[in-house]
Every structure is written in C-alpha cells, then in structure tokens.
C-alpha cells in the first residue's frame, strides 16, 4: 500500500474490571479515505474511539497520528492535534444556539485571551468576526443555515447529528471520527448524510466511521475493520469483508451474503 497512513494504531488494549473491552486492536486509516469500524453491539467500537481520542486511558497500545507517535491522555490535546469526533449519544451544548455550538468548535483554532475578551482589541474583533463567518460557512456546508439562531436542543435528531459534524469540522481536523452518525435517521436523512460524508472526503478530510447501517458502510467505506468481543476479526475491502465467514457469523448473519 502506497497510501500514507493518517492514523496507525496497533495493539490497543483496554480492560474494565473483568471485561477485556479491547484486546490488542489495530487499525490503519490512510489519508483521504473513509474507514469503517463495524461490529455487533458491545464489540468495543465506542471504547476504541474513546481510547484513541484520550477519553479513556489505554492499558497499552502504539499510537501514530500523521506520522507522529502520541499517547492519548487528554481529549483536548488530541483535538488540538487534529482529530475531532462526534458522539454516539449526541453531546451538543443544548442551551447554546446552533451557531454558537459551531463557534465553540473554533475554540482551539483561535486565541483571544482574557485581556482580548475584556478589552476587545481590534485583533480580537477581527478574530471574532472570522470565527462567526467560518461557523456560518460550516452551517451552510452541512445544510443548517436556516437554523443558526435556534437553540441546539430544539433541533430534530437528524439535524443534531449534522450539527455535531459541523462542530467537529470547526476544529479543523485531519481525521473526523464519527460514532454512529446515522443512528436514528430516516432513509432520506441517511442518503443526505452519505452525500455529506463523501463531500467531506472529497474536500480532503479523512473519516473514521462507526456505523451499524450496513448499506451505508459498504457503500462509502474504502476499507472496513470488524470488531467482535474486543478483537479484530476481519479487516480489508468491503467486498472481502462481507463474505468473510467470521463476520457473517458474528455480525451480518447468513441473509446478508
């Protein structure tokens, strides 16, 4: 494989008490690709996300991001280094407006300090304006322009998921890690999401995707990794993975072939 790897992790293990949630899991995400992480409920997909983004400390593992070794300990540092994520159980800032949610995402790419905030220097004002413009542009990008001034809690489910993506994009990530972005969406919304994800990739971002919707995953992913009981049971191109006997047994079921 000639493609440069954006994310390359190996041997990631995580234990919660008596449960081995992750058992030397490895995953490789080439630049500019969409990589899917699938598996039955409780297989450890979200735990894996939480570990690589620093939410849970890993018991062991080798982590390389964009060619640099890192050990995920602090969520905010991981985000600053260029990896943004969304959450399976949507975590928006409910009391803030849709626009403000995205503006919060610009936090780590802006730098107004305390004095700037209090005295509103010209540079602070310029930065604030730039943040606002960038956030509005991102809302347009995910198709939420009409809702900019609405409180985030009042958005529909599908729109909340889109807002989470816009907010994650505001951190200017190289890798966008999405945890079940299609959950709870209807068929139309899923189609729109698919378009959006392909557009994000076309714009040069790399996507790591946890998803249960098999047709979505098979349709857009360049490669797949399948987890079961905290172990990787298969990895490769979607076409190869879907006929893999263990994957069929553990996840897809006989009917899917």
């Amino acid at each position: 494989m000639a493609a440069r790897l954006l994310l390359d992790v190996a041997d990631v293990s995580k234990r919660f008490g008596g449960v081995q949630a992750l058992d030397s899991v490895g995953l490789q995400v080439p630049h500019g690709s969409i990589v899917g992480l699938i598996g039955p409920n409780g297989a450890g997909k979200t735990t894996f996300f939480n570990v690589i983004t620093g939410l849970y400390p890993a018991d062991s593992g080798i982590f390389l991001f964009d060619g640099n070794a890192y050990f995920p300990e602090s969520v905010s540092q991981v985000t600053q280094s260029g990896m943004a994520r969304t959450f399976q159980n949507i975590r928006l800032f409910g009391e803030m407006t849709v626009l403000e949610n995205v503006m919060v995402g610009c936090h780590c790419r802006s730098k107004a300090g305390l004095l700037g905030a209090i005295f509103r220097f010209p540079s602070t004002k310029r930065e604030e304006l730039a943040i606002q413009e960038k956030s509005l542009a991102l809302l347009a990008y995910v198709g939420l322009s009409d809702y900019a001034q609405l409180q985030a809690r009042n958005l529909s489910y599908g729109h909340q998921r889109r807002l989470e993506i816009a907010r994650a994009l505001a951190t200017e990530p190289k890798l966008l890690a999405l945890d079940e972005p299609a959950a709870g969406m209807n068929a139309t919304e899923k189609l729109e999401l698919r378009e959006l994800l392909l557009r994000i990739r076309a714009d040069g971002k790399t996507i790591l995707l946890i998803e249960h919707d098999v047709s979505l995953v098979m349709g857009i992913c360049d490669s797949l990794t399948v987890l079961d009981y905290g172990k990787v049971i298969a990895a490769g191109k979607p076409a190869d993975v879907r006929v893999h006997p263990e994957v069929i047994k553990a996840y897809l079921g006989q009917g899917a072939v």
Binding site: S74, V75, R91, C108, A112, A117, I118, T124, I131
Partner: protein, 362 residues
C-alpha cells in the same frame, strides 16, 4: 428604511440619556424621600450587584456551584481593613516603628492587590476541586468559605492579626484624588453628601464589572465556559482546556468579590467575621438564581431585589404587626428567611431560569 433606522437610533440614545439621568438623580431622589438610610441601602445594593455578577461568572457561565463565594469578599474586606486602619500598628511594634504615620494604604492600591489575592485564592480553591461537580463541589466550596471565616474569627491569638470576633474598626474611608468620601463635597453651587459620592463610585464600579461580564460572555472564553457547563466531555472534544477555563472562572469571579470587599470595608469603616457567614454566600447565590442564572440583566435585577427587599420588610413588618396585634409576633429576620425560601421555591417551580431569563423566558 434609513429614516426608520435613524429614528430607532435616536430612540435608543434618548433612552440611554434618560437612563443615565435617572441614575445620576437616583441618590437625590432616594435621599429626599427616604433619607440617608435608604441611600446606604442603595449603595449596598450596588456592592451586591458586583458580587452577584462575579458569582454569576462561576455559577452561571461555567456551571460551577460555589457556596463559599463570600470568602473572597472577606479577603478583600480584611485586606483593606488591615492595610488602612490602626489595628496592625497598635499590635505590632515593628510595624508602628516602620510607619510613624500609621497604615494608610489607598483603597485603589489595595483593590488591585485584593483582586490578585482573591484570584489566587480562587485558583487555590479551584485546583483541588477540578474533578468535582454539582453537590460535591458545593460542599467543598462551602467548607472553604467557612474556613476563611473561622480564620478571621480566631486569628486574634497568639498574634492578634484580625482582632477575632470583635472585628477591626477605624478603617480609613474611601478617598479619590484627595477627596474624602466621608464628608460632603462642596462644589460651590451644591454640596454632594458622602453617601451620594459613594453611590456614584459604586455605580461606576458596577457598570465596569457589568461591561467586563458582557464582553466575557460574548467571547471565545465565555463560550468555552458555557460549553463546559453544558457538557464537559464535549467541551474537551472541542479542544478546550477545561482545567484552565474552570480555574479562570474561579479566579475572575473571586477577583470581583475581592474588589467589592475592599470598598465594603472602606465604606463601612468596620469589618467583622459575622459579615461573611454562609448565609451571605447563600444570599448572593439566591440573587443569581432568582434573578436569572447566566443572564446578566437578570442577575442585576436579582441583586437589587434581594438587597432592597429585606430593608423594605424591616420598615413594614414591625409596624404592621404592631398595628394588628399590638406587639411583634414574628421577628423580621424570621419573616425575611421565610419569604426568601418561599420565593426561591416558587421561582424554581414556575420560572426555573429565573425572574428575568435569557430570551424573555422561552
């Protein structure tokens, strides 16, 4: 369209001028109708506005429940009491020898000093409590507030630092450009009483604090605070250094209280630990919650209502009881606490966002 805009603008500036005029005249109106007692009440209400706005940064913006907030007010008050009264020279010969004219630091210098001191104590309180939220944080902050008060209460032995429960007296009054706020200012055509001068000074301070709060709210930092309040994990995932932002909220909130404390002790001329009890912390918190948590105009309203209301009650409750029953049945203080409790319960039930909440209460 343009005309309409211009008219709107005119309207706004007219309102602004009228508001400013009303504020300028307020002490004269209050003084003429209610006497100096009520001007003092209004002066104190302004101090409470500063306190409530400061606590609002911690509780309202960052969502960190702080029940020991009054400790920072105490730090400011005692800083000035010690640095601008005869207390220390009286009890420490070396200080008396070093300062033959006595301790007379300017309240402005002490205000800056107290601001930094209170901010440092805010960080000191914040550091061990970073992992705590809600009730747990409330308990620790409550303990912190009590520790400070108990120190003030007991630091009269072995060295008499704070004069214990008796408090410190003969604190220098406020001075600005050589003008003492303890006596009337003679402008030739009119004499401005000291209490009125204090009003103007506190008004300027309160407005300054309000502007700082408004600016902070609509900034990168204010957004980060609210994000932490709404969802700390998501805030971290936005690349926000939640630890630093929380400490910053503690420090800013505390520094406002520190400044207010300095002017409190300069205004009163006397401080004692009983001004800084848990009850006071709760009153300031009630101002924030009752007025409109996280919403600056609401917090200001809450501070005014709860600062003025007990005084109104004091003026009404006893005469009414005397007229009805011939003697006082329920102590004013008890009635006050009853009504406070009732008001809080009602607000929580029917307007959980406060009397004047964001967006007019959607």
């Amino acid at each position: 369209m343009l005309k309409k805009l211009a008219a709107n603008h005119l309207n706004r500036s007219t309102y602004f001028c009228l508001g400013a005029l009303a504020l300028l005249l307020l002490p004269w109106i209050v003084g003429a109708s209610g006497g100096n007692y009520w001007v003092r009440v209004v002066d104190f209400a302004l101090l409470y506005i500063i306190l409530a706005l400061g606590l609002n940064v911690v509780v309202g913006f960052a969502g960190l429940l702080d029940l020991g907030y009054i400790a920072f007010y105490a730090l400011g008050a005692y800083s000035y009491a010690l640095l601008a009264s005869p207390h220390l020279p009286q009890h420490f010969e070396t200080i008396a020898a070093a300062l033959p004219q006595g301790m007379h630091f300017s309240p402005w210098m002490v205000a800056i000093f107290s601001m930094i001191l209170a901010a440092l104590f805010g960080i000191l309180l914040g550091l061990p409590t970073l992992q705590l939220r809600g009730d747990y944080l409330a308990i620790v902050t409550l303990g912190f507030g009590e520790i400070i008060r108990i120190f003030m209460n007991n630091l009269d032995r072995p060295l008499n630092l704070t004069n214990g429960p008796k408090g410190i007296t003969a604190i220098d009054p406020i001075q600005l450009f050589g003008i003492s706020f303890a006596k009337p200012l003679d402008l030739g055509f009119v004499q401005i009483p000291g209490l009125y001068l204090v009003f103007y000074l506190f008004l300027i301070l309160a407005i300054a604090v309000m502007i700082v709060c408004l600016h902070l709210q609509n900034s990168r930092i204010g957004r980060a605070w609210v994000a932490i309040r709404e969802d700390e994990i998501a805030a971290k995932a936005m690349g926000i250094n939640t630890r630093n932002m929380k400490l910053l909220a503690f420090a800013i909130g505390a520094s406002f209280a520190g400044v207010a404390g300095v002017f409190f002790s300069a205004f009163q001329g006397f401080v004692s630990p009983e001004s800084f009890t848990l009850w006071e912390s709760i009153v300031v918190l009630a101002m924030v919650v009752l007025g409109g948590i996280g919403h600056i105009p609401g917090v200001i309203l809450g501070a005014i209502v709860l600062a003025v209301f007990p005084e109104v009650l004091r003026g009404v409750a006893e005469p009414v009881q005397n007229a009805l029953f011939g003697h006082v049945i329920v102590d004013v203080e008890v009635i006050r606490q009853l009504i406070y409790g009732l008001a809080l319960i009602l607000v929580m039930l029917y307007r959980p966002g406060g009397i004047w909440q964001k967006g007019g209460g959607k």
